[in-house]
Homo-oligomer: 171 residues x 2
DNA sequence: TAACGCGCGATATGATGTAACAAGCGAATG
DNA sequence: CATTCGCTTGTTACATCATATCGCGCGTTA
Protein backbone atom coordinates (compact mmCIF):
# COMPACT_ATOMS: atom_id res chain seq x y z
CA UNK A 1 0.00 0.00 0.00
CA UNK A 2 1.27 3.50 -0.70
CA UNK A 3 0.66 7.07 -1.83
CA UNK A 4 -2.02 8.75 0.21
CA UNK A 5 -3.34 12.26 -0.22
CA UNK A 6 -0.61 14.72 -1.13
CA UNK A 7 0.45 16.92 1.75
CA UNK A 8 -0.94 20.40 1.54
CA UNK A 9 2.43 22.04 1.11
CA UNK A 10 4.13 19.72 -1.37
CA UNK A 11 6.01 21.05 -4.39
CA UNK A 12 3.35 20.55 -6.98
CA UNK A 13 5.33 22.02 -9.86
CA UNK A 14 7.94 19.44 -9.22
CA UNK A 15 5.47 16.58 -9.17
CA UNK A 16 3.91 17.81 -12.42
CA UNK A 17 7.33 17.97 -14.04
CA UNK A 18 8.10 14.46 -12.85
CA UNK A 19 4.84 13.14 -14.21
CA UNK A 20 5.49 14.73 -17.60
CA UNK A 21 9.00 13.36 -17.71
CA UNK A 22 7.74 9.88 -16.92
CA UNK A 23 5.10 10.18 -19.61
CA UNK A 24 7.65 11.27 -22.20
CA UNK A 25 9.82 8.35 -21.30
CA UNK A 26 6.99 5.84 -21.35
CA UNK A 27 5.77 6.97 -24.77
CA UNK A 28 9.26 6.93 -26.14
CA UNK A 29 9.82 3.40 -24.91
CA UNK A 30 6.57 2.22 -26.47
CA UNK A 31 7.03 4.01 -29.77
CA UNK A 32 3.90 6.10 -29.42
CA UNK A 33 3.74 9.84 -29.82
CA UNK A 34 3.07 12.20 -26.96
CA UNK A 35 2.16 15.05 -29.28
CA UNK A 36 2.04 18.65 -28.05
CA UNK A 37 -1.73 18.48 -27.80
CA UNK A 38 -1.69 15.26 -25.79
CA UNK A 39 1.03 16.70 -23.64
CA UNK A 40 -0.99 19.80 -22.91
CA UNK A 41 -4.01 17.74 -21.92
CA UNK A 42 -1.93 15.54 -19.66
CA UNK A 43 -0.31 18.57 -18.12
CA UNK A 44 -3.67 20.16 -17.42
CA UNK A 45 -4.68 16.99 -15.61
CA UNK A 46 -1.43 16.77 -13.71
CA UNK A 47 -1.66 20.37 -12.56
CA UNK A 48 -5.07 19.85 -11.09
CA UNK A 49 -5.44 18.52 -7.59
CA UNK A 50 -8.76 16.96 -8.42
CA UNK A 51 -10.16 15.06 -11.39
CA UNK A 52 -11.18 17.23 -14.34
CA UNK A 53 -14.11 16.76 -16.64
CA UNK A 54 -13.32 16.85 -20.35
CA UNK A 55 -14.96 20.23 -20.73
CA UNK A 56 -13.10 21.59 -17.72
CA UNK A 57 -9.92 20.74 -19.57
CA UNK A 58 -11.30 22.56 -22.58
CA UNK A 59 -11.96 25.60 -20.40
CA UNK A 60 -8.48 25.60 -18.96
CA UNK A 61 -6.88 25.32 -22.37
CA UNK A 62 -9.15 28.05 -23.68
CA UNK A 63 -7.25 30.45 -21.44
CA UNK A 64 -3.98 29.62 -23.16
CA UNK A 65 -2.70 30.92 -26.47
CA UNK A 66 -4.12 27.97 -28.34
CA UNK A 67 -7.59 26.82 -27.35
CA UNK A 68 -8.36 23.17 -28.03
CA UNK A 69 -11.74 21.95 -29.25
CA UNK A 70 -13.58 19.47 -27.08
CA UNK A 71 -13.29 16.78 -29.71
CA UNK A 72 -9.52 16.96 -29.59
CA UNK A 73 -9.47 16.82 -25.83
CA UNK A 74 -11.49 13.62 -25.96
CA UNK A 75 -9.11 12.18 -28.51
CA UNK A 76 -6.13 13.06 -26.38
CA UNK A 77 -7.84 11.52 -23.36
CA UNK A 78 -8.50 8.31 -25.31
CA UNK A 79 -4.82 8.12 -26.02
CA UNK A 80 -3.77 8.86 -22.45
CA UNK A 81 -6.16 6.26 -21.08
CA UNK A 82 -4.99 3.66 -23.56
CA UNK A 83 -1.38 4.28 -22.57
CA UNK A 84 -2.19 4.21 -18.87
CA UNK A 85 -1.03 7.79 -18.43
CA UNK A 86 -4.39 8.89 -17.13
CA UNK A 87 -7.35 7.28 -15.44
CA UNK A 88 -11.02 7.82 -15.82
CA UNK A 89 -13.02 8.31 -12.64
CA UNK A 90 -16.29 6.75 -13.69
CA UNK A 91 -18.30 7.99 -10.78
CA UNK A 92 -17.48 11.57 -11.66
CA UNK A 93 -17.20 11.47 -15.42
CA UNK A 94 -13.79 12.94 -14.90
CA UNK A 95 -10.15 12.24 -15.60
CA UNK A 96 -6.96 12.13 -13.59
CA UNK A 97 -3.27 11.97 -14.44
CA UNK A 98 -1.77 8.70 -13.30
CA UNK A 99 0.81 9.23 -10.60
CA UNK A 100 2.62 5.97 -10.72
CA UNK A 101 2.94 2.85 -12.79
CA UNK A 102 0.91 -0.10 -11.60
CA UNK A 103 2.05 -3.58 -10.75
CA UNK A 104 0.06 -6.16 -12.61
CA UNK A 105 -1.11 -8.18 -9.62
CA UNK A 106 -2.09 -5.30 -7.44
CA UNK A 107 -5.31 -3.45 -7.40
CA UNK A 108 -5.63 0.28 -7.70
CA UNK A 109 -7.94 2.10 -5.37
CA UNK A 110 -9.02 5.66 -5.92
CA UNK A 111 -10.09 7.27 -2.69
CA UNK A 112 -12.33 10.18 -3.61
CA UNK A 113 -12.87 12.83 -0.98
CA UNK A 114 -16.42 14.05 -1.35
CA UNK A 115 -15.66 17.34 0.30
CA UNK A 116 -12.36 18.63 -1.09
CA UNK A 117 -12.53 16.52 -4.27
CA UNK A 118 -8.94 15.41 -3.96
CA UNK A 119 -8.02 11.89 -4.92
CA UNK A 120 -5.57 9.43 -3.41
CA UNK A 121 -4.36 6.61 -5.57
CA UNK A 122 -3.37 3.65 -3.43
CA UNK A 123 -2.59 0.05 -4.20
CA UNK A 124 -3.18 -2.96 -2.06
CA UNK A 125 -1.96 -6.47 -2.56
CA UNK A 126 -4.23 -7.91 0.14
CA UNK A 127 -7.27 -6.33 -1.43
CA UNK A 128 -6.30 -7.72 -4.79
CA UNK A 129 -5.92 -11.21 -3.41
CA UNK A 130 -9.22 -11.13 -1.55
CA UNK A 131 -10.92 -9.73 -4.59
CA UNK A 132 -9.59 -12.57 -6.68
CA UNK A 133 -10.82 -15.00 -4.10
CA UNK A 134 -14.25 -13.44 -3.81
CA UNK A 135 -14.78 -13.36 -7.54
CA UNK A 136 -13.34 -16.78 -8.21
CA UNK A 137 -16.01 -18.17 -5.94
CA UNK A 138 -18.62 -17.25 -8.53
CA UNK A 139 -16.46 -18.09 -11.52
CA UNK A 140 -15.70 -14.54 -12.50
CA UNK A 141 -12.38 -13.28 -13.73
CA UNK A 142 -11.86 -9.65 -12.95
CA UNK A 143 -10.26 -7.64 -15.69
CA UNK A 144 -10.42 -4.05 -14.55
CA UNK A 145 -8.32 -3.73 -11.47
CA UNK A 146 -9.42 -0.28 -10.56
CA UNK A 147 -11.86 0.53 -7.81
CA UNK A 148 -13.33 3.84 -6.76
CA UNK A 149 -14.26 4.54 -3.19
CA UNK A 150 -15.83 7.76 -2.06
CA UNK A 151 -15.61 9.11 1.45
CA UNK A 152 -13.80 11.75 3.44
CA UNK A 153 -10.09 12.39 3.68
CA UNK A 154 -8.48 12.95 7.03
CA UNK A 155 -8.34 16.73 6.79
CA UNK A 156 -11.97 17.05 5.74
CA UNK A 157 -13.09 14.62 8.40
CA UNK A 158 -11.63 16.90 11.03
CA UNK A 159 -13.21 19.94 9.46
CA UNK A 160 -16.61 18.29 9.36
CA UNK A 161 -16.26 17.31 12.99
CA UNK A 162 -15.51 20.91 13.94
CA UNK A 163 -18.48 22.17 11.97
CA UNK A 164 -20.80 19.69 13.58
CA UNK A 165 -19.57 20.58 17.03
CA UNK A 166 -20.01 24.30 16.54
CA UNK A 167 -23.49 23.72 15.17
CA UNK A 168 -24.28 21.69 18.26
CA UNK A 169 -23.15 24.56 20.48
CA UNK A 170 -25.06 27.24 18.62
CA UNK A 171 -28.32 25.37 18.92
CA UNK B 1 -19.89 -14.03 0.25
CA UNK B 2 -22.96 -15.02 -1.75
CA UNK B 3 -25.16 -14.64 -4.81
CA UNK B 4 -23.30 -15.20 -8.05
CA UNK B 5 -24.67 -14.91 -11.56
CA UNK B 6 -28.20 -16.25 -11.85
CA UNK B 7 -28.41 -19.64 -13.47
CA UNK B 8 -29.57 -19.49 -17.05
CA UNK B 9 -32.79 -21.35 -16.39
CA UNK B 10 -33.99 -19.80 -13.16
CA UNK B 11 -37.57 -18.67 -12.68
CA UNK B 12 -37.15 -15.02 -13.37
CA UNK B 13 -40.82 -14.11 -12.92
CA UNK B 14 -40.59 -15.50 -9.48
CA UNK B 15 -37.50 -13.54 -8.62
CA UNK B 16 -39.08 -10.34 -9.94
CA UNK B 17 -42.16 -10.96 -7.84
CA UNK B 18 -40.01 -11.57 -4.79
CA UNK B 19 -38.06 -8.41 -5.36
CA UNK B 20 -41.23 -6.36 -5.69
CA UNK B 21 -42.69 -7.91 -2.55
CA UNK B 22 -39.53 -7.08 -0.63
CA UNK B 23 -39.61 -3.54 -1.92
CA UNK B 24 -43.24 -3.10 -0.87
CA UNK B 25 -42.42 -4.37 2.56
CA UNK B 26 -39.32 -2.23 2.95
CA UNK B 27 -41.14 0.95 1.93
CA UNK B 28 -44.01 0.14 4.22
CA UNK B 29 -41.67 -0.39 7.14
CA UNK B 30 -39.94 2.91 6.49
CA UNK B 31 -43.09 4.90 5.91
CA UNK B 32 -42.17 5.91 2.39
CA UNK B 33 -44.38 5.47 -0.63
CA UNK B 34 -43.66 3.04 -3.41
CA UNK B 35 -46.01 4.82 -5.79
CA UNK B 36 -47.26 3.13 -8.97
CA UNK B 37 -44.75 5.04 -11.03
CA UNK B 38 -41.84 4.09 -8.79
CA UNK B 39 -43.09 0.55 -8.77
CA UNK B 40 -43.15 0.41 -12.54
CA UNK B 41 -39.61 1.70 -12.79
CA UNK B 42 -38.38 -0.78 -10.22
CA UNK B 43 -40.19 -3.58 -11.99
CA UNK B 44 -38.63 -2.64 -15.32
CA UNK B 45 -35.23 -2.86 -13.66
CA UNK B 46 -36.00 -6.12 -11.94
CA UNK B 47 -37.22 -7.70 -15.14
CA UNK B 48 -34.01 -6.93 -16.93
CA UNK B 49 -31.08 -9.25 -16.65
CA UNK B 50 -28.64 -6.42 -17.17
CA UNK B 51 -28.42 -2.83 -15.97
CA UNK B 52 -30.68 -0.40 -17.78
CA UNK B 53 -29.93 3.18 -18.70
CA UNK B 54 -32.53 5.73 -17.69
CA UNK B 55 -33.64 6.19 -21.26
CA UNK B 56 -33.84 2.46 -21.80
CA UNK B 57 -36.37 2.40 -18.98
CA UNK B 58 -38.23 5.22 -20.71
CA UNK B 59 -38.29 3.14 -23.90
CA UNK B 60 -39.62 0.08 -22.15
CA UNK B 61 -42.35 2.02 -20.41
CA UNK B 62 -43.23 3.74 -23.66
CA UNK B 63 -44.46 0.38 -24.88
CA UNK B 64 -46.95 0.14 -22.03
CA UNK B 65 -50.33 1.85 -21.75
CA UNK B 66 -48.87 4.77 -19.90
CA UNK B 67 -45.55 6.14 -21.13
CA UNK B 68 -43.44 7.89 -18.53
CA UNK B 69 -41.42 11.01 -19.27
CA UNK B 70 -37.68 10.82 -18.76
CA UNK B 71 -37.77 13.32 -15.95
CA UNK B 72 -40.14 11.13 -13.96
CA UNK B 73 -37.98 8.10 -14.50
CA UNK B 74 -35.04 9.99 -13.08
CA UNK B 75 -37.07 11.03 -10.08
CA UNK B 76 -38.23 7.50 -9.47
CA UNK B 77 -34.63 6.33 -9.75
CA UNK B 78 -33.55 8.95 -7.22
CA UNK B 79 -36.09 7.54 -4.83
CA UNK B 80 -35.12 3.94 -5.44
CA UNK B 81 -31.44 4.71 -4.97
CA UNK B 82 -32.10 6.63 -1.78
CA UNK B 83 -34.09 3.72 -0.38
CA UNK B 84 -31.48 1.21 -1.43
CA UNK B 85 -33.92 -0.58 -3.71
CA UNK B 86 -31.76 0.00 -6.74
CA UNK B 87 -28.10 0.65 -7.43
CA UNK B 88 -26.39 2.84 -9.91
CA UNK B 89 -23.64 1.27 -11.97
CA UNK B 90 -21.41 4.26 -12.43
CA UNK B 91 -19.21 2.74 -15.04
CA UNK B 92 -22.18 2.17 -17.29
CA UNK B 93 -24.44 5.08 -16.45
CA UNK B 94 -27.04 2.45 -15.75
CA UNK B 95 -29.27 1.18 -12.99
CA UNK B 96 -30.02 -2.15 -11.41
CA UNK B 97 -32.65 -3.47 -9.01
CA UNK B 98 -31.09 -4.48 -5.73
CA UNK B 99 -31.51 -8.15 -5.11
CA UNK B 100 -30.82 -8.33 -1.42
CA UNK B 101 -30.48 -6.13 1.60
CA UNK B 102 -26.97 -5.29 2.66
CA UNK B 103 -25.29 -5.74 5.99
CA UNK B 104 -23.73 -2.55 7.23
CA UNK B 105 -20.20 -3.83 7.66
CA UNK B 106 -19.97 -5.71 4.43
CA UNK B 107 -18.98 -4.44 1.09
CA UNK B 108 -21.01 -4.88 -2.05
CA UNK B 109 -19.25 -5.94 -5.21
CA UNK B 110 -20.82 -5.73 -8.61
CA UNK B 111 -19.23 -8.10 -11.03
CA UNK B 112 -19.97 -6.80 -14.49
CA UNK B 113 -19.58 -9.22 -17.35
CA UNK B 114 -18.28 -7.26 -20.30
CA UNK B 115 -19.59 -9.74 -22.78
CA UNK B 116 -23.13 -10.72 -21.72
CA UNK B 117 -23.70 -7.59 -19.62
CA UNK B 118 -25.11 -9.57 -16.74
CA UNK B 119 -24.29 -8.50 -13.21
CA UNK B 120 -23.59 -10.49 -10.08
CA UNK B 121 -24.01 -8.78 -6.77
CA UNK B 122 -21.80 -10.35 -4.14
CA UNK B 123 -20.80 -9.31 -0.66
CA UNK B 124 -17.60 -10.01 1.16
CA UNK B 125 -16.64 -9.37 4.73
CA UNK B 126 -12.95 -9.99 4.02
CA UNK B 127 -12.95 -7.36 1.32
CA UNK B 128 -14.63 -4.89 3.60
CA UNK B 129 -11.92 -5.44 6.19
CA UNK B 130 -9.16 -5.11 3.58
CA UNK B 131 -10.69 -1.94 2.33
CA UNK B 132 -10.92 -0.50 5.82
CA UNK B 133 -7.32 -1.37 6.43
CA UNK B 134 -6.07 0.01 3.13
CA UNK B 135 -7.93 3.26 3.55
CA UNK B 136 -7.20 3.73 7.23
CA UNK B 137 -3.52 3.77 6.36
CA UNK B 138 -4.02 7.10 4.58
CA UNK B 139 -6.60 8.44 7.02
CA UNK B 140 -9.56 8.02 4.74
CA UNK B 141 -12.99 6.91 5.84
CA UNK B 142 -14.85 5.16 3.09
CA UNK B 143 -18.51 6.00 2.82
CA UNK B 144 -19.68 4.26 -0.29
CA UNK B 145 -19.35 0.56 0.24
CA UNK B 146 -19.98 -0.40 -3.32
CA UNK B 147 -17.34 -1.47 -5.79
CA UNK B 148 -17.67 -2.26 -9.46
CA UNK B 149 -15.46 -4.80 -11.12
CA UNK B 150 -15.63 -5.57 -14.79
CA UNK B 151 -14.50 -8.82 -16.31
CA UNK B 152 -15.90 -12.02 -17.71
CA UNK B 153 -18.38 -14.38 -16.15
CA UNK B 154 -17.78 -18.10 -16.20
CA UNK B 155 -20.06 -18.83 -19.14
CA UNK B 156 -18.59 -16.09 -21.30
CA UNK B 157 -15.07 -17.05 -20.39
CA UNK B 158 -15.69 -20.50 -21.81
CA UNK B 159 -17.27 -19.06 -24.92
CA UNK B 160 -14.35 -16.75 -25.51
CA UNK B 161 -11.93 -19.62 -25.08
CA UNK B 162 -13.81 -21.61 -27.71
CA UNK B 163 -13.81 -18.68 -30.09
CA UNK B 164 -10.10 -18.15 -29.67
CA UNK B 165 -9.37 -21.79 -30.22
CA UNK B 166 -11.39 -22.01 -33.42
CA UNK B 167 -9.72 -18.85 -34.69
CA UNK B 168 -6.37 -20.44 -34.00
CA UNK B 169 -7.37 -23.50 -36.02
CA UNK B 170 -8.73 -21.58 -38.98
CA UNK B 171 -5.53 -19.62 -39.43
C1' DT C 1 6.15 12.39 -56.24
C1' DA C 2 2.35 9.45 -55.05
C1' DA C 3 0.15 6.70 -51.64
C1' DC C 4 -0.58 6.03 -47.00
C1' DG C 5 -1.43 6.41 -42.02
C1' DC C 6 -2.09 9.33 -38.41
C1' DG C 7 -3.18 13.41 -35.82
C1' DC C 8 -6.09 17.08 -35.77
C1' DG C 9 -9.85 20.75 -36.94
C1' DA C 10 -14.67 21.56 -37.63
C1' DT C 11 -19.45 20.68 -37.44
C1' DA C 12 -23.23 18.08 -36.13
C1' DT C 13 -25.60 15.00 -33.34
C1' DG C 14 -26.61 11.78 -29.74
C1' DA C 15 -26.76 10.34 -24.84
C1' DT C 16 -27.22 11.47 -20.17
C1' DG C 17 -28.70 14.33 -16.49
C1' DT C 18 -30.70 18.67 -14.05
C1' DA C 19 -33.40 23.11 -13.14
C1' DA C 20 -37.52 25.39 -12.54
C1' DC C 21 -42.23 25.89 -12.18
C1' DA C 22 -47.03 24.48 -12.47
C1' DA C 23 -50.62 21.21 -11.60
C1' DG C 24 -52.66 17.13 -9.19
C1' DC C 25 -53.75 14.83 -5.07
C1' DG C 26 -54.21 13.05 -0.53
C1' DA C 27 -53.65 13.94 4.53
C1' DA C 28 -53.95 17.01 8.34
C1' DT C 29 -56.10 20.95 10.24
C1' DG C 30 -59.35 24.42 11.21
C1' DC D 1 -66.52 20.88 4.38
C1' DA D 2 -62.92 24.14 2.93
C1' DT D 3 -58.14 25.28 3.49
C1' DT D 4 -53.64 24.50 3.74
C1' DC D 5 -49.64 21.85 3.31
C1' DG D 6 -46.37 18.70 1.51
C1' DC D 7 -45.23 15.26 -1.65
C1' DT D 8 -45.63 13.46 -6.33
C1' DT D 9 -45.87 14.13 -11.07
C1' DG D 10 -46.02 16.65 -15.76
C1' DT D 11 -43.81 19.82 -18.83
C1' DT D 12 -40.39 22.51 -20.92
C1' DA D 13 -36.06 23.98 -21.28
C1' DC D 14 -31.40 23.52 -20.72
C1' DA D 15 -26.74 21.74 -19.18
C1' DT D 16 -23.32 18.33 -19.47
C1' DC D 17 -20.87 14.49 -21.43
C1' DA D 18 -19.52 11.92 -25.45
C1' DT D 19 -19.31 10.26 -30.36
C1' DA D 20 -19.79 10.33 -35.64
C1' DT D 21 -18.06 11.93 -39.76
C1' DC D 22 -15.59 14.30 -43.18
C1' DG D 23 -11.60 16.47 -44.78
C1' DC D 24 -7.04 18.67 -44.42
C1' DG D 25 -2.13 18.75 -43.41
C1' DC D 26 2.05 16.47 -42.55
C1' DG D 27 5.63 13.10 -42.13
C1' DT D 28 6.90 8.41 -43.76
C1' DT D 29 7.78 5.29 -47.12
C1' DA D 30 7.74 3.11 -51.41
Amino acid sequence: MNAGFPSLDHDHKRCVADAMARADEACDARGVRLTPLRRRVLQALAESHSPLGAYEIVERLKKTREPVPAMSVYRALDFLLAEGLAHRIESQNAFLACIHGHETDEIVLFLLCERCKRVAEVTSGALGRDLSQATRGVGFSAKARVLEVSGLCNACKKTEARVKQSQGISR
